[in-house]
Symmetry: D2
Subunit: 299 residues, 4 copies
């Protein structure tokens, strides 16, 4: 196993079949620094155009369409002392007529304290100072999509992309369906913290150092999957929320079938034990996770 | 404070302005036995027509339209050794074309062990025996709706109703907007356990003994609210999921405003700390909860 | 056949199983004057509370649950020289962020010229005077719903209600599923004219004289149906639009099955010849019509 | 003005910034033959992979991002004696539980009679022979999208794409927002006829000869627009239907503003005179048209 320190020479605003910026063996670790959603790096310098610029693509030798890319998230560490958010709820997460009252979508700056593992908002309206614990995560990552598509890093689909799901943090393993030779992995748009739904349109956007182990498996999946210490989960990316939930649930049924559960057994288990999380309800495609405690899985 | 042991002479399939079956003082406790969603009682006898038959209405002396009914859920205890569920995912929670493969929606019987606090499915397809911990909850409760409406216990709205949210269990306090003199509280359709979304169309449906303390407050809310030991939450009931989420989020913004947070402060707090839960994605109106850890509330 | 001149003593804000205000024989004609959505009558006097007050209920002797009520709309004639509308698009029919720019929802008064059969807006912003041809229609009508429900005249469901579909005008026949003895027909909320979707939240709201022939048929339908000189149509009432469309399409498939078309034949016909109309995209339940030219029906 | 007879050497499954296959001057006419959605040409030979293969891209000299491409559809003529459709309603256009009953999605062959201008289904289940009048249209066309995206011809967005709207036929003018130098126009997937919504997932799919005049204008639009002899219309492409309708309505408001109508005037006009059409309710992004009779436009 090799550890690669990957310093991008350029960033990308689409996930697509592009020439690899780095090629690794299955099982290698990649350490890289991501810039924030607006293209600011760890020094606060504007190094790239806004819009979720991605590090990558990273090719994994031997990965072929129909395989699955396994991404073990080893660490996500904010590398800047500040992060930024938007100061107003998105218009689509409140009642339509209420949207008329929303404040401007100004940018607000949070202080990130890596020792205390907190983020603090210096100015926060009537709320006084607001301090929340960090929970770093990767906002946008995935692989080159199928059929020659180049999909904007504003959105997400079967290939992953801008899912903004807070459980994609350190300790989580993610899987993506490989659709291009080499898989072509991209990552970026890390958040120091984010609520469900990304309902102000941002997490706490900041530069991060990220370490991932990349490997491929000779099996096929349709939608992204994940595993934390306690749970497994599947991801659906679509509008409306109900369709995202349908994709996630259907992928979980497929996963349970691989474990030997028929549709009746899967229905019973999910019916009484499933958990749903909302990744984002802001991007062009929303993200829903279908999650299950590993205690209830067949042995 | 008085404790009333309420034995219904009849049940109801709508929440409406009906003659009270019991009248209590604000602050009184009511203990009552609910029958299950199909009208089976604790002995397994069919005592009423299926369709979420409700105990009630219970009038609270002095409650007026514009007030808020506070319902402290003191206990929800399964009173039968069995519960039942449906054996197939609902067609609307999987991809539309996948729905063609779903098994029949047979009824399955779970054994409820009150000592072990578990539910066990005797027959469960390829899964062998499935045992899950109990987490009793009230599936359907609320007050008479406004404007002379009589709303089916199949669905839900501002008045509450069939929300099927698993956090409506013992220890939770719920609030409902009073729309009729006396508030006219109804409850029923308890579940020994239920996954998010009620995606097989049922929780583990069983008879329960329920104790609630009922009181009213001279303040107004628009949508149901709740509080657990750790969190506060607001409820939106509507289709599609996005609209349910909009109602819940807007109600939470109103609640935070009552605590002194303006729209910018509320946006910052919710943006980075909110949690969303899906009560049900099965009934005519879906239920979404907007939830917030009380640690982050202004003091 | 008898013609009844029905003068309501009271109006209703729910469709429900209420004591009949008039009882007629199957095949009788009822002539009645409706007041407008805000309760103003043909003289411009406020005679009832706002919110789509309904004339009725009218019982049809012999109609039983499971039957179908046939409503032939013989005439709908504005009886006042003015009508009113709202002056702003509803927030839910524009892009969410655009909603912040919408003007206030002021009331605007149109002059109705019954000789010229036109409506003219005296003041219309940058548009100068706006004159449009009348196309009178019934905004809200239907029957008592099932199961003791009392459904607000703000919304609609299987029983009909506030559908705001412009093809429910003179010459159209509508059918509703009978759910209570006597059917219990209600009508009101007539519009002198309305665009698709009722996207300002109103048509041109005015008092009307309406004549309908009411009769029942010994057959069952699930959702409202209609027939014009050229087309047949079925109605779905639900949120979101896709669900309203699903109900309407499914009901049309059932209707074609009654005419002898199996699912393959119905798929071919609808696939290449169906038309969809949007009744309203404003009320709590939206309305979609699935429409088919009678030329293509089997003989 | 020049007329180009364009014979593609290759087809494309994405709309993207690809090297032009043909370059024309603004105002030139292009005549070209499209193959059908499955890659069958006018002789019934399989010449390309299925999935809406596109002719193009065609560059228009001088067109720049921010300009608008004008496409006058001069003719769309089926060039094969047969077309094909699917024999079952899509699962998402019927009630979810009803989807279990749908027949297989077999392919059916229609006879196209260019003299009679009809399409006839040889075998059509219980319906006997079905003959419908031709109404040829372009299913998928548009320009290279912004930001280096390559968008599948299965779907649609601001750039156009797979809209499946029956009013995109001969005599209609369409406009698209130019996002890449030269505009880069693509077209294909023509239908001899199609119902609203493309609810079996196809129109009558066939090869066509198409003539279009291409020119660019120095003005900006956000979503596709169109004009027929009687109407103007705007297009929204998104899921769910409500969002597609929101985009279309908002674009129409912008168009009316260009004609001098402020938001109040536009609200009044659209509120009482708008028509909505559903292009497709089948593709990943649905298509809704917001349509207005030109009689009501300001002079």
């Amino acid at each position: 196993m090799t550890t690669h320190n990957f310093v991008p020479a350029a960033y990308h605003h689409v996930l697509a079949t592009l020439p690899p910026a780095l090629t690794v063996e299955s099982g290698d670790v990649v350490v890289t620094e991501t810039i924030d959603a607006n293209g600011w790096d760890k020094h606060g310098d504007k190094v790239w155009k806004a819009g979720n610029p991605m590090n990558g693509p990273i090719a994994i030798v031997g990965a072929q369409p129909g395989d699955t890319l396994k991404v073990e998230i080893l660490s996500v560490t904010p590398s800047r002392a500040t992060g930024w958010t938007r100061a107003a709820l998105a218009a689509n997460v409140v009642e339509p007529e209420f949207a008329r009252q929303l404040p401007p979508r100004d940018r607000a700056i949070w202080r990130i304290d890596r020792n205390a593992q907190t983020a603090t908002l210096a100015h926060s309206g009537g709320a006084g100072q607001l301090t929340l614990p960090l929970a770093p995560m990767i906002g946008c990552f995935g692989v080159a999509p199928a059929g020659g598509q180049a999909i904007s890093t504003a959105t997400s689909a079967e290939h992953g992309g801008n899912m903004d799901y807070r459980r994609f943090g350190p300790g989580t393993t993610a899987w993506f369906p490989v659709a291009a030779p080499g898989a072509l992995f991209f990552l970026g748009d890390c958040h120091a913290l984010q609520g469900d739904g990304e309902i102000v349109g941002t997490g706490i956007e900041t530069a991060c150092e990220v370490a991932v182990r990349l490997s491929f498996e000779k099996r096929s999946i349709v939608w992204p999957r994940g595993e934390t210490e306690r749970d497994i989960f599947t991801i659906g990316n679509a509008r409306p929320l109900e369709q995202a939930l349908q994709h996630a649930t259907t992928e979980m049924v497929r996963w349970l079938a691989e474990m030997g559960l028929d549709l009746v057994a899967a229905s019973h288990l999910l019916g009484q034990a499933v958990r749903y999380d909302i990744g984002n309800v802001y991007d062009p495609a929303y993200t829903v996770a279908c999650r299950l405690n590993k205690n209830w899985l067949p042995r």
